[in-house]
Symmetry: C2
């Protein structure tokens, strides 16, 4: 089975022009078929604030109301995505920027209102892996932003980590698929204050120990849940670390297995 | 040769939700292979103004400075394009939203500074008709916004009428290509105050007469120049009128021939 790499980059890489340029060069040099997934970073918050739209938080969690969704669509789907695509073209990577609505690639449903109404947030229901594969077979490199659609005309804000894992699960029908979660750390750290304390391997058993020890907590928790979800559903390999995990020189990162 | 229809819609259609919905239904129902090209309308001006960015005009012509380009990328490439794509998906049209950077489809060069420095405005240099055709062959319906790229990482603001005509010229290597310019009028009018005074047929000879009579002037002039450029370079048919030119009921529109 042919290999496919799905690389997800976080906000910190996107916000810094130098980091982004360095990453895009690494991504372009990566051999084989590949997909990029990017979050939006703080840019959307900046634009929203300039437009006089206040961040709405309920129980510490952000709410995507109609005007916030407009900003997200402008910033993630327009400004960030299209500039990444233009820069990848300059590096001879034939990128094509997508939301989940484009080529109907990722359908989601608006999150049901329980204690909190998150607004226009979508939980992924279906990845059209055949559609995405038609783009890849046509020699394009898909670049996804963190937006999906409900199939009824509504765009929805969707977590980029989850987009990466769900697209990877879908694509594992066609390819031997790996996910590379790139962020500002070298991987999962035993001690958050010691950058070198990378947990090199995590499997389902050691994951439980890390949870019990409080080493995996906060934002890392949903990330790891996504990893195990992907591995349990056909994805071959998940790696977390800084952007140099895309090179062969780096051997200091976290590999997650079942 | 198989037929391909390229439909361009202007700002007035995009700005009004009812008009847009009605148009998108007509577009979805249109048989055969097709491409949509849309301008941005006044939405970009509104967002720019809310962000405190003032429109810069030199000799009555708009200048696209760096921050205006950002707004255009957000509004045309994000907000307008992605909402159109989501709405087309709801109508079972497998749309894919594109700038000229996506799939490297339209390369342009930054307009040279002569009397006026227009800023980040691109004049089209090359349409990658093979790339666009790979998308069409993969059963996607391209939806272009009015942004191109220079191949060196820079996005550029580009006139949507010209995108329609240049894409049509490129695609006429692969298809018998028609352009439908949809706008608020029924076509070219003999008397701008009489909506019914449609000039039904214009050819190169009558065009000169209409020019001499001042019937074609202002904004209509570059539109017509685009039409004749397209027809001189392989495009089969150019039609101008309101959105009902996409139906068979309407016979009140302007057809342009050589």
């Amino acid at each position: 089975m042919e290999k496919l790499s799905i690389i997800k980059i976080g906000g910190n890489i996107i916000e810094d022009a130098t980091s982004l340029a360095a990453f895009l060069t690494l991504f372009s040099n990566l051999e084989g078929k590949k997909i990029l997934v990017h979050g939006g970073g703080k840019r959307a918050t900046h634009v929203a604030s300039k437009l006089g739209i206040k961040s709405k938080l309920v129980a510490g969690r952000r709410i995507t109301d109609a005007e916030t969704l407009e900003v997200i669509t402008m910033v993630y789907g327009g400004l960030v995505n299209k500039n990444i695509v233009a820069k990848l073209q300059a590096l001879n990577t034939n990128a094509i920027g997508l939301t989940g609505a484009d080529s109907n690639s990722i359908q989601s449903e608006k999150r049901a209102v329980k204690e909190v109404d998150f607004g226009f947030v979508g939980d992924i229901k279906k990845v059209a892996s055949n559609s995405i594969n038609r783009l890849i077979k046509a020699d394009f490199t898909p670049v996804f932003c963190a937006i999906t659609h409900d199939g009824k005309g509504q765009l929805l804000n969707t977590n980029a980590d989850t987009i990466a894992s769900q697209v990877a699960i879908g694509m594992s029908q066609h390819y031997e698929t790996s996910i590379y979660y790139c962020f500002e750390l070298n991987g999962v750290l035993k001690d958050i204050n010691d950058k070198k304390s990378v947990v090199k391997k995590i499997n389902a058993n050691t994951y439980q120990e890390l949870l019990a020890d409080g080493i995996i907590a906060d934002g890392m928790l949903p990330k790891l849940e996504n990893c195990f979800d992907a591995l349990s559903n056909g994805v071959s390999k998940v790696i977390m670390g800084n952007t140099s995990i895309l090179t062969k020189e780096n051997d200091n990162f976290t590999t997650i297995t079942l």
